[in-house]
Amino acid sequence: MTSALTILSRRFFGSLGNSLLTLAVLALLGFVLPPFLRWALFDASFTARTPLACRESGGACWAFVHEKYRLILFGRYPQAEAWRPLAAVLVIVGLIGSACGRFLSLSSLALAAVLGAVAVAVLMWGGVFGLAYVESTSWGGLPLTLILSVTGIVIAFPLAIGLALGRRSRLKLVRSLCIVFIELMRAVPLVSLLFMASFMLPLFMPGEVRIDELPRALVAIALFSAAYLAEAIRGGLQGVPASQEEAARSLGLGPLRATLLVVVPQALRIAIPGIVNVLIALFKDTSLVGIVGLMDLLLATKQALGDPAWRSFSLEAYLFVAALYFGPCFFMSRYSQALERKLRAGAGAI
């Protein structure tokens, strides 16, 4: 007991510098924490029915979140049909969970993904099985954010593998086209690409083709992420020894099959940390679509704050949404670290 105390006190007060640091941090915490806790918990109002009652309590007004959660989570989707976006979110989360948990074989996972995509489309659009038709312009909130992220990844991934391979191609034209595309996408901000897609994609299409705002934004996000993803995968490709491809070729595999079956899988494994970083960035970046008017989680929150009666509770609303974004991002980074450890252990055993 004494020894534990001694160790503890040595870590906190072992030297003059450490003691000063400890005291400074304690003073800072003492200065910041009590008022924050009083605001966020003790004086906060969780159940007030009116903004006035909320303001009287003097603390945070979490009742705002309770009042507006439908608008924040589902945007302008028709109120009576709110179960449909909820079900779509559950389907997407279930799919991601079963992919991460790895209790399905690869082929049944692919089947589940296709079925899940169809289910989400049916749930969100409707128009069949007696479900009322809902236009994609009135989708919003969490389902929109998830659909943008997942579809963005699904489009970007094969494109990125192609770009990464193309950047290492023997053919000069292929190589330079890939380099120009990747470097151009990485050099400009996503906002400018979103504006470009929003203003200029209609100009690029034949006059009679109309494209909604949702696919426009999706194109911008997918192309942008593909460039970053391609760079992450290229790093992985560089880590695969050339002997791997030579061995595959000497076993009689053609160049295409040697690349896709032998080199790319190993490259993807090496590139996992970089790939997950891009995925996290993509998930966070979907919040920018609000700038071109798509009702994602963040813009729906701003919309909820537009109600004049509840206007002054934006801190509460933003903290709530911040927690919604934090969860998946934090999970992704931890999951990638665990995966990396596991794969490293596996590679060591071979």
Partner: protein, 372 residues
């Protein structure tokens, strides 16, 4: 021969695609009777810009408006790079310190800031400025002369000879660099090491003397708190303050992780060996650990700074007139989307390429010579 045919085929496809797009654009522009060209740059903009480094009013041209936006983007990016580096150094060292309070606190900071979208953080900062802070009349000064109020950050400015201390500082650093050169030369000749205090005093003395002289007569323009608003002093608008705080704290978390990773990548044996040779802590850090760590840190730092510059375009969401938001306003007014968005993207491209070029040059300087 096969390679050549493949490339020719690809070239044909690319050409056809480009032709298809150009044909569509021409048709669409004709149908909407939009005239392409850059003539609109000379016509009157007719909208106001709140913050500008150049003389600008509603009668100025669109071209000038874009220039004002570009300068604002450059200013915000450079200030953000400096601030995020400072934050990153402190937080990164905090995570490395192994102190039982500071370490977890720094980790919590990094995790919380990295995993929440920057745009949301900008809105949060803006909301804090707007809702939590006191109105101008009753905002307390958090340092003498510094006020953080609803109308932004107010601070004292040097009114007479504002650049003189900066020049003095530069002169001081030049003298210090010369002294260090001389000391190194002497060490190489005689083997005896000179003390380092003359360098530090040379660096800071001129500026300190000048400041002391100036302070004797109070050269500052102090912000004066009135009932509604402030008069005098310098002001950062709430939009700019929120943008700067958001960019710096968000990117600071990434910089902290880069620096921590770089310092940990230096094998501990390096520091141990230096200690065994009798080098003191500060010399171990300066001569052994930091040069090796910087080599690792520079490439990811460069791309982080690039990200910061590009992320400054989120200003459009909170209404700070940077290049992107000025461009957006112009597109909405004139409909010249092709030209304006093209110019804005070209400007970001140039900015990115110049930062990349500078960092490549620096990287080449700190890189290991020869094969490792």
């Amino acid at each position: 021969m096969r390679d050549f045919l493949l490339q020719a085929l690809l070239f044909g496809i690319v050409l056809a695609l480009a032709g298809f797009l150009v044909f569509n654009v021409a048709g669409n522009l004709g149908a909407r009777s939009i005239h392409t060209g850059f003539a609109f740059l000379h016509s009157e903009a007719g909208f106001d810009i709140g913050e500008s480094f150049l003389p600008y009013d509603g009668r100025s041209s669109y071209g000038r408006a874009l220039l004002v936006g570009l300068l604002n983007t450059l200013a915000v990016s450079s200030a953000g790079i400096v601030l995020s580096t400072l934050i990153g150094v402190f937080v990164g060292l905090g995570r490395l310190s192994g102190h039982p309070l500071v370490g977890p606190l720094a980790s919590g900071y990094v995790e919380a800031l990295r995993n929440v979208p920057l745009l949301l953080q900008l809105y949060l900062w803006y909301a804090i400025l707007n809702e939590v802070l006191a109105p101008d009349g009753s905002a307390p000064a958090f340092l003498p002369g510094f006020y953080l109020a609803k109308s932004g950050l107010h601070f004292p400015v040097l009114e007479r000879a504002p650049l003189a201390p900066l020049f003095a500082l530069c002169a001081g650093f030049a003298a210090a660099a010369a002294w260090t050169r001389f000391a190194e030369f002497r060490q190489a000749q005689t083997g005896s090491r000179s003390a380092s205090w003359p360098a530090w005093s040379l660096a800071l003395l001129p500026a300190a003397l000048l400041l002391a002289r100036m302070l004797a007569t109070d050269p500052f323009g102090w912000p004066q708190q009135r009932r509604f608003g402030f008069a005098g002093g310098g002001t950062l608008s709430p939009e700019l303050t929120a943008l700067l705080l958001g960019l710096s704290f968000y990117n600071g978390a990434f910089v902290a992780e880069i620096l921590r990773g770089a310092i940990r990548s230096v094998a501990p044996g390096q520091s141990d060996a230096a200690a065994a040779l009798g080098l003191r802590f500060k010399h171990r850090l300066r001569l052994i650990v930091l040069p090796q760590a910087l080599r690792v840190a520079v490439p990811p730092l460069a791309s982080q700074y690039l990200n910061l510059a590009k992320n400054s375009s989120l200003a459009v969401a909170i209404g700070y007139p940077d290049l992107m938001s000025v461009g957006n306003t112009i597109v909405n007014q004139t409909g010249q989307a092709l030209e304006v968005i093209g110019m804005v993207m070209a400007a970001y491209l140039t900015l990115s390429l110049s930062i990349a070029a500078f960092m490549n040059w620096y990287n080449a300087r700190v890189r290991l010579e020869g094969p490792t």
